[in-house]
């Protein structure tokens, strides 16, 4: 039943090595697209599948650790595999499998970097993410973390000849390093005795509330920068459209989750005594991020930017869940903490699957049409039925609709919110339920966003003539999309199976396993608190809808004459319709900017009614960019220009500076 029971850690290390070797093999024939895509990427996909099997085994086992005699002298790499890291490795493996399959058919020659180089960066990226999760000391963690940031930077700038892409890559690198510095400081604050940085030593160190809070805030900033938490989210909507679609899928689905992993590791495992307001901070920040992300997603007109903002929303929901779990954890309510934590981890898994599905779907659309702008797409359901079908599953899942997977995690999280009253803090008792309303608003607006996304791209009439010749995705790409779509459906229909896996994680972090209360209810009904309190049966649910549908269909067939005619669309009798009269992406954004105006920095340029050359435009920009980033950048430039006064480029002046410094030193140190 469970292979590799003996040594999953060895096997996982083997997979890391295997991926690195595949990457190196790409350098053998760097220019050969055939070799890289037909041989190396399928081999990489196999590695992903093996990783899933190994990690699924490891989730149930006791933690295993190992010391690798690599790295600096006296500073070996410590590795550890426990339920938390194993769960996230299941995610990495499952996503890597699908994305590698997709990449087989996706990359074309002549697109930016050489295929061999791309293969190297891709597989280094995959292995570095696994190493982040295996790391058991701060040193290896930071090395793997930086490898991950750098390899993904090179992947983002694959088409490095385009200036915008270079700019996006630079912004990404900058924020990744701000985050890395915060993490470095965080580990520095928690440091163990005598400067030991193995996680065991960090766990043993009990910090004062002040330093503990400092470490927590640094971790929130560091991991938040990687995950795209407000206000460090600005790189996401730039980097995702710039990267090739499989890379955006991988970054959004897996790399953001490594940040969640790190946050859980520090917040629940390394910092032993959490304070109540840590959870509140994460919860509030998460909810704000979720609302911000979904509102900006609603006004985008570039399909990959839209998905990037939607990722920000999901990350917000995930951090809100982590915050809620922390609140329950500090108030010693293990049951609800486990519930919130399970919901969060479940959402991580779900988000990985549906976001990958949609990002890869946009990749296929991009290849078929060369168009990312929603305003020039439309009606692709007729020319690309496979991609449209799979994307529909993804869109419904993101919108949080039953019986797909997005609904299960939102349902779980709402249950955790609903049963929160009973906390010993009366203010929290009142505020936490209001948080659930923000969560529901975000979820409902994500339904709006997905109707916009799917409706504008795949439904309606084609907005451009060239769309009629769009071709459907190839076989490999279809297989990958089918893998993710099936994942979305299976995760939605069999929540108990996932909960059984998550139990090992929750009992590791908060000492409670949900199946202890759900056992005996079987696989069909899902009741994580108590059966009479709340239950959800996705299979019954599906059966109910499909059953009614079938009965209705047969009844209509039996009693109805079945005549069907085709004609022109009616549209209230307006005869001269064109495809330009359909609602556009901007049209979908308009009510959102109108209602939630304070969130946006709107610029409108309305033409004069008598103008010969009318110009109309409207932009919705991010206020945070103007409030935070530009002032910081300007201040930086100003300080640099002050310092620049010293710089003249003439050697005698520099000699004079040296002389003056020496003199000053002699005066003071004498």
């Amino acid at each position: 039943m469970y292979p590799f029971e003996e040594a999953p850690l060895d096997l996982i290390l083997g997979i890391v090595l295997y991926w690195l070797l595949i990457g190196a093999a790409g350098l053998l024939r760097p220019a050969s697209l055939r070799f890289v895509s037909r041989v190396l990427f399928p081999m990489g996909a196999l590695g992903g599948l093996l990783l899933v099997i190994a990690a699924l085994t490891a989730v149930r086992l006791d933690p295993a650790s190992m010391v690798l005699p690599l790295g600096l002298p006296d500073l070996p790499f410590h590795l550890r595999l426990d339920a938390l890291s194993a769960f996230f490795m299941v995610l990495v493996g499952a996503i890597a499998f699908g994305v590698s399959l997709f990449s087989v058919g996706y990359f074309r020659s002549g697109e930016g970097a050489l295929p061999g180089l791309l293969c190297l960066q891709y597989h280094v990226f995959l292995s570095s993410m696994v190493m982040v999760m295996l790391a058991d000391d701060a040193y290896l963690f930071m090395v793997a973390w930086e490898t991950m940031a750098l390899s993904s930077y090179f992947l983002v700038t694959t088409s490095h000849r385009i200036p915008e892409i270079r700019r996006a890559g630079f912004l990404y690198l900058l924020i990744a390093h701000i985050g890395a510095i915060a993490l470095l400081l965080c580990f520095g604050v928690i440091h163990g005795e005598a400067g030991h940085y193995a996680f065991d030593a960090l766990r043993a160190n009990s910090l004062s509330p002040f330093w503990g809070s400092a470490a927590f805030l640094l971790a929130l900033a560091g991991f938040g920068a990687k995950a795209g938490l407000l206000p460090l989210h600005v790189w996401l909507p730039e980097a995702h459209p710039a990267a090739p679609s499989p890379v955006s899928a991988l970054m959004s689905a897996v790399m953001l989750k490594t940040a969640v992993y790190g946050f859980l590791r520090v917040g629940f495992d390394l910092l032993s005594a959490p304070l109540w307001w840590w959870g509140v901070t994460a919860l509030v920040l998460g909810l704000l991020t979720a609302l911000f992300g979904v509102m900006f997603a609603a006004v985008q007109s570039d399909m990959k930017r839209l998905l990037a903002y939607s990722s920000i929303e999901s990350i917000g929901i995930i951090f809100a869940g982590v915050g809620l779990a922390m609140i329950f954890h500090t108030y010693h309510n293990p049951h609800l903490a486990a519930l919130a934590l399970a919901a969060t981890l479940y959402h991580c898994l779900n988000h990985a699957f549906f976001k990958c599905l949609l990002f890869l779907g946009t990749g296929s659309v991009l290849h078929a049409t060369n168009e990312r702008n929603l305003g020039r797409l439309g009606g692709l359901m007729r020319t690309m039925p496979w991609v449209a079908g799979f994307s529909l599953v993804g869109a419904l899942a993101i919108a949080g609709l039953p019986p797909l997977n997005g609904f299960v995690s939102e349902w779980l999280l709402l249950q955790a919110f609903l049963f929160s009253p009973g906390l010993p803090n009366p203010y929290l008792n009142m505020l936490v339920p209001l948080g659930s309303a923000a969560l529901v608003l975000a979820a409902a607006l994500s339904g709006y966003v997905m109707v916009k996304f799917y409706g504008v791209i795949f439904l309606g009439q084609p907005r451009e003539d060239k769309l009629a010749s769009a071709h459907d995705a190839g076989g490999w790409e279809r297989c990958a999309l089918a893998w993710f779509a099936l994942g979305c459906i299976a995760l939605g229909l069999f929540p108990m199976a996932v909960i059984l896996m998550l139990d090992h994680v929750t009992s590791l972090l908060v000492n409670f396993s949900l199946s202890s209360v759900t056992s005996g209810r079987g696989w069909l009904l899902f009741a994580p608190i108590a059966a009479q309190r709340a239950s959800y049966g996705p299979l019954f649910f599906l059966l109910g809808i499909v059953g009614t549908l079938a009965v209705t269909f047969l009844a209509v067939r039996a009693f109805y004459h079945g005549r069907l005619r085709r004609g022109n669309a009616w549209d209230c009798g307006f005869p001269a319709q064109t495809s330009r009269m359909q609602d556009t992406a901007e049209g979908f954004g308009q009510p959102i900017t109108q209602i939630f105006e304070p969130f946006f920095r709107v610029r409108r340029e309305m033409p004069d009614p008598f103008s010969r050359t009318p110009v109309y435009f409207k932009t919705n920009e991010d206020r945070i960019w103007y409030w935070l980033y530009l002032p910081v950048a300007h201040a930086h430039e100003r300080i640099a220009s002050w310092i620049g006064v010293l710089q003249h480029g003439r050697i005698h002046i520099y000699l004079l500076y040296s002389f003056a410094t020496l003199l000053a030193l002699l005066l003071f140190v004498r």
């Binding site: 359901m381 059966a531 049966g537 109910g544 005549r563």
Partner: protein, 318 residues
């Protein structure tokens, strides 16, 4: 299969069929009450059935570019609404299907149907279809948080999100009036009006292009598809009324296995639905339709009322 299973299956089937069959009557009743209030004689209670009968005998006319999604959406909507109708206890509380979906999942079923109808509206690619889809999703995304807040109060009182348990507890276990539920009930009525495309958010009898929401989405449908959509809409309306009854006036709904009170329960249900329909007709007659951008204020008010109810419960325990 034991006898008990068979009985609960039959009970489930009867309740679901009852809602499905009386749903058009409910719409007819509201329309009739409105007609009386406006000093008209009205089309009669059975008019919605006549409309369904007529539509089911007409040819279905599809646009040239209508996709399979467009053709399957009415069936999906109908299926969702029947599922929703089958988890709300209306006559007795022992519903076979109830554990499959609690109130949150019920909100999810409505959302599923709504997303499919919006997608189908965008499918043909007409100006009005996509406009309606956009407005419908907008109103829904504003009303869903309010609806959740409404559901919060009974959830807090009963400590359960299963409708069966809520009704059982409120109607049979503790005889106590909860003032917090009054706030929630007012907010619920506002959400009901918004979600069911009634005045003041939408006007079910308008075909004036610029004000349509729900009607704009179904402009391209005809024949059997339109019949299914209209019927699903009626079921949704009735189910919403049934949810309101279950949460706020559950007295009269029979407990599981108490057969002798069933006729009384059916009678009580009909009376409550009748009063609800007449009340809604009155409300619709005295209100004017709001501009679409006033809808956020309306939903915001519903949200605040519901939040007040919840705070009343939390702070005063009322």
């Amino acid at each position: 299969m034991t006898l008990a299973h068979l009985i609960s299956f039959l009970s489930q089937l009867t309740q679901t069929l009852l809602v499905v069959l009386i749903a058009p009557l409910m719409l007819g009743w509201v329309a009739q009450c409105r007609a009386w209030l406006q000093n008209r004689s009205g089309p009669g209670l059975l008019q919605p059935y006549r409309v369904l009968f007529k539509l089911l005998h007409k040819d279905a006319l599809l646009a040239h570019n209508a996709s399979p999604l467009f053709r399957s959406a009415p069936y999906i909507q109908f299926g969702c609404m029947v599922l929703a109708a089958s988890v709300v206890p209306i006559i007795e509380t022992n519903l076979l299907f109830a554990p499959a979906a609690d109130v949150i999942a019920l909100v999810g079923v409505f959302a599923l149907a709504r997303v499919f109808s919006s997608l189908a509206a965008m499918d043909v690619g007409t100006a009005f279809g996509s406009l309606g889809a956009r407005r419908e999703m907008l109103v829904a995304s504003l009303s869903e948080p309010a609806l959740l807040m409404v559901l919060f109060t009974p959830l807090l009182i009963v400590q359960s999100s299963s409708l069966n348990t809520i009704v059982d507890t409120l109607a049979h276990r503790e005889f106590q009036l909860h003032p917090s539920l009054a706030f929630a009930a007012v907010a619920f009525v506002m959400v009901l009006l918004a979600e069911n495309a009634r005045i003041p958010i939408d006007n079910p009898s308008t075909h004036l292009e610029l004000t349509m929401i729900h009607e704009a989405m179904i402009l391209e449908y005809s024949g059997r598809h339109l019949a299914l959509i209209e019927w699903a809409h009626a079921i949704k309306f009735t189910t919403y009324c049934a949810i309101g009854i279950a949460l706020f006036v559950p007295w009269g709904i029979a407990q599981a296995g108490v057969w002798q009170v069933l006729p009384g329960a059916v009678f009580a249900l009909l009376v409550k639905l009748g009063v609800a329909g007449a009340g809604l007709a009155l409300l619709e007659s005295v209100c004017a339709k709001l501009r679409i951008f006033r809808a956020p204020e309306f939903m915001g008010m519903a949200f605040m009322l519901a939040a007040l109810g919840m705070l009343t419960r939390l702070l005063l325990g009322a």
